[in-house]
């Protein structure tokens, strides 16, 4: 239990995916303009991360490892993730149109999101078990959510700020991200035990 808690806090705050591991930067920058979209994207990411962690873990454990095919991890994982996302999207569209409306537009973006594949590669690297992997995915998603939501608030404020011409748009967004990242350095030495 304590282990899991450590993973949870660790992945959320200490090694925040976006702010200190640099995973999932594209959606972080692309979808943080408005808090409402940020919320939708976060929901979708958490959802996909949890499911994909479970599925990729199973793939790795029962398909690749027994056959000594670890070198195919990248290709197998990405296939599984892509198919999973597309499948979820198709099903949601039909069965839960309202949820699809809320999350759907973000789903395809998630396939090409480092965070999902990244967390799969990380559980391999760290030799996590099934539950640990899933918790890790969930925590990484929460960390992503936290960063994205906070950042979307900041960006909404930047929208009406009087920013120098050359810095308008992406540059100031990156600099803002830098400042947010500095503040998250505070968590760097959080002792989880």
């Amino acid at each position: 239990m304590k282990e899991l808690f450590a993973i949870l806090i660790g992945a959320m705050l200490v090694e925040n995916f976006v702010l200190s591991k640099f995973l999932g930067i594209c959606p972080f920058l692309g979808v943080s303009k408005k808090t409402s979209t940020a919320l939708g994207m976060s929901g979708a990411v958490v959802f996909v991360l949890v499911i994909s962690q479970a599925v990729t873990w199973l793939t790795n454990e029962y398909l690749l490892k027994p056959n000594n095919l670890e070198y195919l991890q990248t290709i197998a994982f990405i296939l599984v993730i892509a198919a999973l996302v597309q499948f979820v999207e198709t099903v949601l569209k039909k069965l839960m149109p309202s949820l699809y409306k809320a999350l759907g537009v973000y789903l395809p973006l998630i396939t090409t999101n480092c965070a999902v594949l990244g967390s799969a590669l990380i559980f391999v690297e760290r030799d996590y078990g099934f539950v640990e992997s899933v918790v890790f995915g969930f925590a990484a998603g929460l960390g992503f959510t936290l960063a994205l939501i906070l950042f979307s608030g900041v960006r909404e404020r930047l929208e009406t700020a009087d920013i120098p011409e050359a810095f308008k748009g992406m540059p100031i967004t990156l600099i803002a991200a830098s400042l947010v990242s500095i503040t998250f350095m505070g968590f760097a030495s959080l002792i989880i035990s």
Binding site: N67, L69, L72, A76, A83, Q86, T90, K94
Partner: protein
């Protein structure tokens, strides 16, 4: 031999997903009119919202489902309109594209000031204070409300007067709706001379307030060979249908408020 296992595993995955996805997309299919996607591709993709729909997707949907005319898109110009019309199988014929014009030349040098305005740079804000600080109650206030809404950066405000850069203007009409003085008009690109004044004041008053205001002297009406000019409530108005772009009126106007507005596109 060692190749067979990996190939089997991954291709098996591929096959399974291929079957699964294809099957799922069949079972869970939601019908979408493909034409929407096609039209969306033909649109310029600026997503500016100038058409009044939620971005290009919105307009594409409206074109297909509601039969909205493609010229709603101000960005793409005639080429896009024609391409979409072709695709939708409707012949729209040639359309005349409009550009916006500010019917006023009353900059700070030309028009007298009624008072010294202290406040927000916005024409509506000044207009509610006794109709704005210009002595002429019909002229451009020059605080740039139109400029703020123009999605195409086509308006410059200088010396208290807004001017539209015809090359950039797409005729979207946003400024027309915005101007509190209602002095921006959409005028066909190809039509020539325009009276750039909107003052309904009597001649004497108009002359007192502004150096370049129409004083309703009727000289242009008399000189126009095509009888295209009429006086309407103390301002001369040129009918673009009748105007032959001869330029006689501009030559006689004592106030120099008729100008050539032909736009080369």
């Amino acid at each position: 031999m060692s190749i067979l296992v990996p190939v089997a595993v991954i291709s098996g995955l591929g096959l399974a997903f291929g079957l699964g996805l294809s099957y799922a997309s069949k079972v869970f299919e939601v019908k979408v009119d493909e034409r929407i996607g096609k039209v969306r591709e033909l649109l310029p993709g600026a997503n500016c919202g100038a058409c009044g729909y939620s971005g290009c997707d919105g307009l594409a949907e409206a074109i297909v489902n509601e039969g909205v005319h493609a010229s709603r898109c101000p960005v793409g110009g005639i080429a896009v309109v024609n391409a979409i019309s072709d695709f939708m199988g409707v012949d729209e014929g040639s359309i005349d594209v409009n550009v916006a014009r500010v019917l006023c030349q009353g900059n700070c040098d030309n028009v007298k000031m009624k008072y010294n305005y202290l406040g927000i740079e916005d024409c509506h804000a000044a207009n509610v204070l006794a109709g704005g600080m210009d002595a002429c109650n019909y002229g451009c206030l020059g605080l740039g409300s139109c400029k703020k809404v123009c999605p195409f950066d086509a308006i410059v405000v200088e010396n208290g007067l807004a001017t539209i850069i015809a090359e950039k203007c797409t005729g979207c009409g946003k400024c027309v709706a915005e101007c509190p003085k209602a002095i921006i008009k959409l005028i066909p690109v190809l039509s020539g001379f325009t009276v750039k004044c909107n003052s309904h004041d009597k001649g004497a008053i108009a002359r007192k307030n502004c150096k370049v205001g129409c004083i309703a002297c009727q000289k242009c009406v008399k000189v126009c060979p095509s009888e295209a000019i009429t006086m309407m409530d103390n301002v001369a108005v040129i009918d673009s249908q009748k105007c032959t772009n001869c330029g006689e009126c501009a030559a006689v106007c004592p106030q120099k408020c008729i100008t050539n507005t032909i736009v080369q596109r």
